[in-house]
Symmetry: C2
Subunit: 449 residues, 2 copies
Amino acid sequence: MVKPSIPKGTRDFGPAVVRKRNYILQTIRGVFEVFGFQPLETPAMENLTTLNGKYGEEGDKLIFKILDNGDILGRAQQAKDSRELGVLLCEKALKYDLTIPFARYVVMNQHEITFPFKRYQIQPVWRGDRPAKGRYREFYQCDADVVGSNSLMNEVELLKIYDTVFTKLGMHGYQLRVNNRKILGGLAELVGKPELITDITISIDKLDKIGEDGVTKELLERGLNEADVKVILDFIAIKGSNNEILEQLKEVLKQSATGLKGVEELSTVLNTQLTSFNSTPIIDLTLARGLNYYTGMIIEVKAPETVKMGSIGGGGRYDDLTGLFGLPGVSGVGISFGVDRIYDVLEELQLFPATAQQSTKVMFIHTGEENLATAFNHMMNLREQGIAAEIYHENAKMDKQFKYADKRGIPYVAIVGDSEKAEGNVSVKNLVTGQQEKVAAADLASFQF
Amino acid sequence: MVKPSIPKGTRDFGPAVVRKRNYILQTIRGVFEVFGFQPLETPAMENLTTLNGKYGEEGDKLIFKILDNGDILGRAQQAKDSRELGVLLCEKALKYDLTIPFARYVVMNQHEITFPFKRYQIQPVWRGDRPAKGRYREFYQCDADVVGSNSLMNEVELLKIYDTVFTKLGMHGYQLRVNNRKILGGLAELVGKPELITDITISIDKLDKIGEDGVTKELLERGLNEADVKVILDFIAIKGSNNEILEQLKEVLKQSATGLKGVEELSTVLNTQLTSFNSTPIIDLTLARGLNYYTGMIIEVKAPETVKMGSIGGGGRYDDLTGLFGLPGVSGVGISFGVDRIYDVLEELQLFPATAQQSTKVMFIHTGEENLATAFNHMMNLREQGIAAEIYHENAKMDKQFKYADKRGIPYVAIVGDSEKAEGNVSVKNLVTGQQEKVAAADLASFQF
């Protein structure tokens, strides 16, 4: 018999981990809900035609395809290469992100949806990446998007969602960073090479990692000359408060209508009178994030610097997502939470509250058949009050039963022996402090377990 | 451009459906939790070797296999038939149920798990069945199991979970039916053909659908003679209260040690002094449910007769599930909820509460930039109180904004115009009754939205 295992890059989540993950997801979900976002769930399987070609050549290779059932041998024999084989044998594939299925859903249901449509979606996605620390083949994405509205109030609301969630999670020191795709477009115009915007932004996005020298080297390799590089390095060196940066940008980008539009959008969002932030968003001119996709504001959340985790969320405005499926002209803006990384940050900073780690509050000792019905009855009363309670499954030695409760992390043990039964009491022992007390059965439900 | 679609047998769940599904799942999850069950999540993808051979020949064909990435053309050319092709090209597959992955998990983590292990699991599974009404290729299963305990108290607890959940869902008229595999074994001994137990039980399990004549015909076709059939029909005709049936069974099965053991187990569970049931479990001697799997008690929940839905849940005791992966001798007992069918029953009987269908409670009208910050501030205060609130995204005509709230099913609209702002009030309009009132801004959070 083969020793059982799971596919590499996938994970089992045992009880303790599920509880902590749920704490994160419930916190996010709760904030999405009070902000008026609505839940959507799409299937794990999409038609391969829906996904293929949407994630670039590299992305296409990482899509997990599902083998058609039935007689497929004949089809397999027609394939000339492995890529073609996949297309011939597989109609379906596992979803690669939540964004493309969302766009597909919006287009399919455009006549039923009331726009603006504010939806959130928390589901697993699958990617055939090489597994590594923090990189899985099956992982959750957690997205909120608004489609069908150009209003910059949406940008403010989404920043406020980030601010609210990370405040609720107690993650002091998170940073909200913002930029605008149009400002990056303005920079490319400034250099006089708008066609190289992708090369420019891919390079400057790495400033944190490779430093100024690295960026210079990469820009030169990507076809920019030394004069261009100087313009770019001067640009990303612009420093100051948000408004000081915005003022300098207005001057530097004065020849670029696109650039000035970006400055105006950013200024509107950052100077909003609608609300304030616990962590004020900061302009980061190197921020790009999958630029080809975004058309307006770009957002990224950085974990507190002490944990060296980098980005724990990001998003931005995109102007033509549903156009991929034949519905042009629907603007959207969205954000995403990196659940696995948030988990690691909370773990490292020990920010999971005790309530996110507890399940059963009290275990009743099985003291023998005579007292079992009484104990069971007390237990059911607790359960009816919403208090998670159990009774040991058999009349084992006291010691064994206590050990079980302890291993399970159950904080209280309740005993109904002959004397307790006669007196109408329950003995309650706190397994952490070792303290034991008698509680009248009638008061058990109001005991602070 | 191809019109977008989703694979047949899969579904998108829009906001209203997600909310109602979540109401069901939260109800079940809440009961699992207070009964001391712990959450487990396993990956969607399992190794194909973990699943193959576990669901019979027919089941194997319905497993969705995931095409390996990389260079697979050479492997494809070695296949002699479609079945072999699947095995050669696919290391991984989508899980087919929650039970086999659970057994795999228990074996892999046997040294860390504290037994008895009470786990629940609510996740999607995938089957390549032909899609039909109520039959999907991607659907949720919702299971609770106890492994590592022989105590019949577990059977009582699981029956009580069913009783509690369906009571909470307000589904009057559900029936809990029980049987015992050992009693069916006793019947096969009684006939003198213990090797035909599967044939006998598959046939009598259909009594509801095909009647006595149909069962007779099928039994004869399956190699039983007329005398056998008479014994079997007499057996399943045993009627009366639970205890009357148990008494008759004791007499009929007096030669069968196995049969009598089954009667004793059933008697212990049904005559428990530990608790009582809102819907008392009823003995159903024709109940078998995937018999090869079960070794003790068998449970099924039937929907109220008025809705003609049949089974909405089922389970039983199995003695050697983890033996499949090399860990013999771990007894288990579990139940499962048929979430899709429960959804349909609640829909048909109109049992979804209003709270399961509501999202945003109040939408603020966008009355222009001058009053926007005030309205936004009121909205944020409501959100901080956990009340889902929105503001219309742009300064459109009043009529358009009201229509949006109405289409979205938002019950209240709040207006902060010049006069409200000056007076420190908010006008709140109930869109259902049409009633409008002024509420002091300070009292807004305590307003009954």
